[in-house]
């Protein structure tokens, strides 16, 4: 039986592990599937110990085939299971992209609501870990662009725990982006707390001069930016979106109506990125409140660079501060 207690200092990866453990424990229909998720416990150890405790029929080492993983998860879901599948790295989801986009996303609509596919696709994503090609990408917009999918990304251990619980309980397919460079970041996790809704943003720091919006790995950076800006007498509000689809525009609007300035930060390329959608909608909603155009900080329109160049590619403190300065200069 999973215990309901408060963990003072739990790593984000461990929080997901505990959340999966709880789900496996409380719902016999929950399955964990993926490459190396069993004995090894996943390359990031997110599923560590689960196969030992729940057996090979619940925690399944699959053949090396992502289309197979998601395709069979769809079949299992049709049969009443709730599969949580792991894609080993962001860059390896694409063999499964067809199943996700053409099948997983559309089945509910096609069946006029008769068929629900409660599949969670876990994807460790993002850069900053000095990895080789295909191990550092941020493809969330490629999924958010597809109706029928929900796309979320926690920024801290507590959210990771609770958002995973909620994603598994969701009757819609959820693409669960895990910020791999934050896997080892620790925070308090209260497994008794009653969480807020899955798809709402949260103000993680209040401010009056400008709103910084981020999710996943960039939330921590934005908090650091706010600290740095505070030293210069600037009061920045930081919003953790938590969900990319649906997107909590109300929360962003409320913040922007107060601060009148918005900078969106993500690792993904800005071109057709989630920041573009946010900029467009917020411009519509807050046209008369805005003192400056919505600015975006993110990756360039270039393939993710080799590790020794990723620092120049990824948003960092200076680049976000630069955008903050530009916004405030209007």
């Amino acid at each position: 039986m999973a215990e309901t207690v408060t963990f003072k200092n739990m790593a984000l990866a461990k929080a997901i592990n505990e959340s999966l453990r709880r789900a496996l424990d409380t719902d016999p229909k929950v399955l964990v599937m993926g490459e190396d998720v069993g004995k090894l416990g996943g390359v990031f150890r997110v599923t560590d110990g689960l196969q030992k405790d729940f057996g090979e029929s619940r925690v399944i080492d699959t053949p090396l085939a992502e289309s197979g993983i998601v395709g069979t998860a769809i079949g299992l879901a049709l049969r009443g299971y709730r599969p949580v599948v792991e894609i080993q790295f962001d860059g390896f989801v694409f063999p499964a992209y067809d199943q996700i986009v053409t099948q997983l996303a559309k089945m509910h609509a096609r069946s006029l609501g008769k068929v629900k596919l409660p599949v969670v696709v876990r994807i460790p994503y993002g850069g900053g870990i000095g990895a080789v090609e295909h191990h550092s990408e941020s493809p969330e917009s490629l999924f958010a662009h597809v109706a029928g999918l929900k796309v979320v990304s926690p920024s801290n251990a507590s959210d990771a725990y609770w958002m995973m619980q909620q994603a598994i309980q969701s009757d819609d397919p959820v693409i669960f982006f895990e910020p791999k460079r934050r896997y080892w970041d620790k925070a308090e996790v209260n497994t008794e707390a009653i969480p807020g809704p899955l798809h709402t943003a949260r103000v993680v720091r209040e401010g009056t001069d400008l709103t910084l919006v981020a999710y996943g790995p960039m939330v921590k950076l934005c908090q650091e930016v706010a600290d740095a800006a505070a030293e210069e007498g600037r009061s920045l509000e930081v919003l953790d979106l938590r969900s990319v689809s649906p997107l909590d525009f109300d929360a962003i609007q409320a913040s922007v109506e107060k601060t009148r300035r918005l900078v969106v930060v993500h690792e993904a390329p800005v071109f057709f990125g989630s920041g573009a959608e946010i900029a467009a909608r917020i411009t519509e909603r807050c046209f008369y409140h805005l003192e400056a155009p919505v600015l975006r900080v993110g990756g360039y329109h270039a393939p993710y660079p080799p590790a020794r160049l990723e620092e120049s590619y990824l948003p960092d403190l200076d680049r976000v501060l630069d955008a903050v300065d530009r916004s405030l200069a209007y």
Binding site: L40, P63, E133, A302, L309
Partner: protein, 433 residues
């Protein structure tokens, strides 16, 4: 003393130059054969010699292994050298290596020793923080050198990320393999200089590229062949199955060379297949066989056989080289979590280098002087690799914006300019102080 690979090698772009005379040979008929044009590479020359030698045996050989006739359900291992280094006779495959001279035997040994040395050096460099990651080929030297040395210059290779021994055979400077593992580039060599494609990390993709390339070779009427490397885990990927389908339907001159090293990270081969992997070929309508992956001579023989089939218009072949990943999956991996040491110990006894050494010694193909000299050469290579890696500079930041497109792109130009202005703002700030 040279530390380059043995085969003399001239850069060439692709196989198109061989088009013409042999074009008509690209048929499915097993009788439509033609002598391989003379090639510079010494080992390739032996291949055509082996072909002549095997001509008489060709018909029965084809009956036994060719077409769609199923082989025995028992995994049958082609082995020409036992782990003790004894030469085993094999009527079917001996002809492909009967012409291997003592010098060439020493060459194969040298290739394996230097490849292993390079690999060990790379692992050490990762430990020292010079590389971000390394995927060791330890234990797979025979599969890679044997198959790699069967190739002609005009053949084309599609590797995974572990084919350091094949790269060596192709004459790719080993230090060029290290750039992507150090994180200074995503490639590191010109694929067309050595007909050795870039490493492919996304499992299985390259099997289709190899098949398409082979379809092109066939369209050109050239008698080059293509070889695709992949692992036991990769055999599960849709791309690999589709490559089998396409290559069979188009009778593409491609050899699928699967190194079954028993593990796909933590998953043993049983998690990928119920049948021995080489038997997968049957269902697609082309021959497959299993070779002792730690026997360099057998790998040379079966790859020559498969390449010859490709050149003769007989289409694809699947070779399953039965071997073992002696090290971790990569330097990031901890195999103690999923496999026992005794398994490794059992494979240690089948070491590819040790067995060839035993053979060389018992056949008096090499003396102490040879081994001593090789040791020195090995040291020299290690030193060169260390120095080259440490001297590898981080690329200029603007490299991010280079080569995303062949014809350029307005947004890339705009972002490059913004990036430049941003970088310059630091210089201004510094200058202002």
């Amino acid at each position: 003393m040279t530390v380059e690979s043995t085969a003399a090698r001239t850069p060439r772009r692709s196989a198109g130059s061989d088009a013409g005379a042999t074009g008509a040979q690209r048929t499915t008929s097993t009788t439509a054969k033609k002598a391989v044009p003379a090639k510079k590479a010494t080992v390739a020359k032996k291949a055509s010699a082996a072909k002549k030698a095997s001509a008489a045996k060709k018909a029965p050989a084809a009956r036994k292994t060719g077409g769609t006739k199923p082989r025995s359900a028992e995994p049958h291992l082609v082995q020409l050298l036992t782990p003790e280094g004894e030469r085993v006779r094999n009527a079917e495959f001996d002809p492909y290596v009967s012409g291997v001279t003592p010098e060439e035997f020493r060459g194969l040994y040298r290739d394996m020793v230097l490849t292993r040395r390079f690999d060990a050096e790379a692992t050490a460099l990762q430990r020292q923080g010079e590389l971000g990651l390394w995927a060791s080929l330890l234990g797979q030297e025979a599969a890679q050198i044997g198959s790699g040395r069967a190739l002609r210059d005009d053949d084309y290779v599609f590797p995974t990320y572990r084919e350091h021994g094949v790269a060596w055979c192709r004459g790719v400077d080993p230090t060029n393999l290290l750039g992507m593992f150090r994180g200074v580039n995503n490639g590191g060599w010109d694929p067309n200089s050595n007909n050795f494609h870039l490493y492919t990390i996304v499992i299985g993709s390259q099997a289709l590229h190899a098949t398409g390339y082979a379809m092109g070779v066939a369209k050109d009427g050239a008698d080059s062949a293509v070889i695709a490397y992949f692992g036991d885990g990769a055999s599960s990927q849709g791309d690999v199955a589709e490559a089998f389908t396409f290559s069979a339907v188009y009778n593409a001159p491609v050899v699928f060379f699967c190194q079954n090293n028993q593990w796909a990270i933590s998953e043993p081969t049983e998690k990928q297949s119920r049948v021995p992997l080489y038997q997968r070929a049957q269902g697609f309508g082309f021959p497959g066989l299993r070779v002792d992956g730690n026997d360099v001579l057998a790998n040379l023989a079966v790859t020559r056989w498969a390449l010859e089939r490709a050149r003769a218009g007989e289409g694809p072949t699947l070779i399953e080289a039965f071997t073992y990943r002696m090290g971790a999956h990569t330097t990031s991996d901890d195999p103690t979590r999923y496999r026992h040491d005794d398994e490794r110990a059992a494979w240690e006894a089948k070491d590819p280098i040790l067995r060839l050494r035993r053979y060389l010694e018992s056949a008096h193909h090499a003396d102490e002087g040879f081994f001593a000299e090789l040791e020195i050469e090995s040291e020299t290579l290690g030193k060169r690799v260390r120095e080259a890696v440490r001297a590898m500079k981080d690329p200029d930041h603007f490299a991010i914006f280079e080569n995303a497109y062949a014809d350029g792109h307005a947004l890339v130009d705009e972002e490059r300019a913004q990036f430049a202005a941003y970088q310059a703002s630091f210089a201004d700030a510094d200058g202002g102080k």
